[in-house]
């Protein structure tokens, strides 16, 4: 088994060798490490992408808009770097769409890291697959393939507002149950049991 640090170093060096600048190669190293740690096929997809990177044409997107469409497939790395670098401005857009991003697995770790930067969950829909990025702590998904994913048609990205998954009633019910561990205080205990006085106008 390869260690994650070996994966990071080799992905970085290979990306530099394929023509990416060092700073971006560093990002790729960290990203592939992240993918492999989360159980997604990072090395497999990067290896295939770098094989064709020099001979095929890919669109480098610099400024990301609400809707991004290109006849030439987008480079997932440059799209990801731009996404990461511009995420604090983009989150105001609520939703972003891409069409024709190649090797979308390689785009994902940028979204995962972006989720941590803005402190919001990010929902990614690629065709009929969904990925929920949880502040770079985990990725929740209905996708389990370990194979190479060369092309995506439609990508939809949503910045999810920080809100709870339960309603107020469910919360109150649970809270009420939790109250059963509290102790009813007598007047004497109120005075003795805590540090400050009952009135502290000094």
């Amino acid at each position: 088994m390869k260690a994650l640090s070996e994966i990071d170093t080799t992905a970085k060096r290979a990306s530099r060798a394929a023509g990416f600048p060092w700073g971006i190669a560093e990002e790729i190293g960290k990203n592939i490490r992240l993918l492999e740690m989360f159980g997604l096929p990072g090395i497999k997809n990067l290896n295939q992408y770098l094989k064709i990177y020099k001979n095929q044409k890919f669109q480098n997107i610099s400024l990301i808009a609400k809707s991004n469409i290109s006849k030439i497939p987008y480079c997932p790395i440059i799209a990801g770097v731009s996404f990461l670098d511009q995420v604090t401005i983009m989150e105001e857009l609520d939703e972003i769409n891409f069409e024709n991003v190649s090797f979308p697995i390689l785009f994902m770790p940028f979204l995962s890291r972006a989720s941590e930067i803005i402190g919001k969950k990010i929902l990614l829909k690629i065709d009929n697959k969904e990925f929920l990025f949880n502040f770079n702590q985990s990725i929740y998904s209905n996708y389990s393939s370990k194979e190479i994913w060369e092309k995506s048609n439609k990508i939809n990205i949503q910045f999810l507002e920080n809100k709870n998954l339960f309603n107020e009633n469910e919360w109150q019910e649970l809270y009420k149950l939790s109250e059963k561990i509290f102790v009813e205080e007598t007047e004497e205990l109120k005075l003795k049991g805590a540090g400050a006085g009952t009135i502290d106008n000094d």
Partner: protein, 553 residues
């Protein structure tokens, strides 16, 4: 009185960093303190009469066990090389997490002697190999087998029976990644498991010579005297492979230097020094002279430094005896300022290290702050502005942005990774091939390039927008924002200039390991000694914490 931390532009110059010495903060010393109440054991010792075979040593506490697995092999003299390109060694070692099973030992016996071309698993933590010191190994075996102790003078000239030629950790060749073990309290300090490996290897070398001698002459043989053992360490040959580490791990480097600088600052702020602390300082200082006068090297560069160190030390001792009164306020501050004004870096930094000896209360809390969660500082804050970046470069890199890289001598070298052994190397840009595959270690040049590039950019432009057209300098932008938060993260020198001494970078790192007797063999590699004078494993429960100054060699 508050003393300022020393300015990074003063401390982080290579000539000063290359004059650092071991101290109480050094990793091998903090390792011994941490593991002093662990149970040491030799679990297996299965060697043949020539000392070839396997052995297992362990440290145990509660439910945790670390086991050193040793494999000793026969090699021919012509196969013995300190170069990283060697493929055979006298012995190979691995530190296993837990107690190795029979199956583990079989797997390790196949892989560990192969080193870089073998594969380890997440159950292994560190890996190393070592060669015998031909100069003294045979002499020691010969002497012991004839019933006498070896010649101390001869031993003193070398200082070890074996020297390691590499110690690997953190995910190399399949070893456990750091994230798997980083929450273990006993290894909060950096390189603690590497130190454990080297320390246990040292014991193996003693056991091995005793065993061979005994088999050579069962009736007459004696065991190596404990005092001689104590004064033997483990040698280490270190080449350029280590140099880029201090560039590639800026937050870690910061935390090491910051710990040292914080200790110095706090010691300088002590108003009145207690007699017991003063006595300890002076005792260590006087005893340490032996360490310096027994420091052998054929390197003219180092010989000059040692000569100056010795004369400076005598000048300092003279100053203390004749002109200094420890009863005055802030005596260590005055001593430090006097050193800066009167002594060279080698001696000043030597005295800074000795100043720490009496002050566990200052040093110990710093030891656990010397690791780093590097990943946390990786992402570039792209919402910041060009004005922020400009301020950082002008403030933190003011000397560097003055360097003229159009001059050949400032741009002479390049760092690359050798295809042979995947190790960092340095070459002349104007004479050698390969500069198109240069590693991103020319920090000064790239920072200067970044500074020039932003000169005409609007102050209000965000870093994110700047990077759209300037991702070729992304690595430098990242470093600049790291250096903003970590003042000692960056070497304040040109790492590709014609006057670069790469061994300064090695020495910086090795001093934090706790190495002594730096012996440069060229400007690109050196030999050192680790654990010379250290207590033996069965003495760990109570040992003199200042052992490093008690060495007889």
């Amino acid at each position: 009185m508050e003393v300022e931390l020393r300015d990074p532009k003063v401390v982080m110059k290579l000539s000063r960093l290359g004059s650092f010495h071991q101290s109480k903060l050094s990793f091998l010393r903090s390792f011994l303190k941490e593991f002093k109440d662990w149970k040491y054991n030799r679990d297996l010792f299965d060697l043949d009469e020539n000392g070839y075979g396997k052995a297992v040593y362990s440290f145990k506490k509660n439910n945790r066990t670390y086991s050193l697995v040793c494999f000793s092999n026969k090699i021919n003299d012509e196969e013995r090389s300190d170069r990283v390109i060697a493929t055979k060694w006298d012995a190979a070692f691995v530190l296993h997490d837990g107690i190795p099973t029979k199956k583990d030992l079989e797997r390790l016996s196949y892989n560990v002697p192969k080193q870089e071309i073998g594969r380890l698993s997440y159950k292994e933590l560190t890996l190393s190999r070592a060669n015998r010191s031909v100069r003294i190994f045979d002499h020691v075996v010969e002497s012991l087998s004839n019933g006498r102790q070896p010649d101390k003078k001869k031993i003193s000239k070398v200082g070890y029976l074996y020297r390691t030629t590499a110690v690997y950790g953190s995910g190399k060749f399949g070893l456990a990644d750091r994230f798997r073990i980083k929450n273990r309290e006993e290894i909060y300090g950096p390189f603690r498991l590497e130190m454990m490996l080297v320390y246990l290897v040292r014991q193996f070398t003693f056991d091995q010579v005793n065993y061979i001698a005994k088999h050579k002459n069962p009736r007459k043989a004696v065991e190596l005297d404990n005092e001689i053992c104590r004064n033997l360490g483990i040698g280490n040959s270190t080449g350029l492979g280590m140099a880029p580490f201090v560039i590639n791990h800026p937050t870690l480097l910061n935390n090491w230097i910051l710990a040292r600088e914080t200790a110095l600052k706090k010691i300088r702020e002590i108003k009145l020094v207690k007699k017991i602390d003063l006595d300890l300082f002076q005792n260590c200082l006087n005893k340490s002279l032996k360490n310096v006068t027994s420091w052998n090297t054929e390197s003219e560069f180092q010989q000059k430094k040692i000569k100056k160190l010795i004369s400076d030390l005598y000048q300092f001792i003279d100053f203390l005896e004749k002109d200094f009164n420890f009863k005055k306020e802030y005596p260590f501050n005055e001593i430090y300022l006097w050193c800066e004004n009167n002594l060279g870096y080698e001696c000043t930094e030597y005295i800074v290290s000795i100043m720490m000896e009496p002050y566990d209360v200052i040093v110990n809390p710093l030891v656990n702050q010397m690791s780093s969660e590097e990943e946390k500082h990786f992402t570039i804050p792209t919402n910041r502005k060009i004005s922020d970046l400009r301020s950082i470069l002008e403030d933190k890199y003011s000397d560097i942005i003055k360097i003229d890289f159009s001059k050949k001598e400032n741009n002479q070298n390049f760092w690359f990774i050798s295809k042979n052994k995947e190790e960092p190397r340095i070459a002349n840009r104007y004479l050698d091939n390969g500069s198109d595959l240069e590693q991103p270690l020319a920090i000064a040049r790239d920072v200067k390039k970044l500074y020039d590039r932003i000169l005409n950019q609007k102050n209000t432009l965000t870093i994110g927008n700047f990077l759209i057209e300037n991702n070729d300098l992304r690595h430098s932008v990242r470093r600049a924002f790291i250096t903003e938060k970590f003042p000692y993260a960056e070497i304040q020198d040109n790492t590709i200039g014609s006057n670069l001494m790469p061994i300064d970078m090695l020495r910086l790192k090795l001093s934090f390991f706790g190495a002594i007797k730096f012996d440069p063999r060229s400007d690109k590699w050196l030999r050192i000694n680790m654990f010379q004078g250290a207590p033996l494993p069965n003495e760990l429960k109570s040992f003199n914490d200042h052992w490093v100054y008690n060495s007889l060699n």
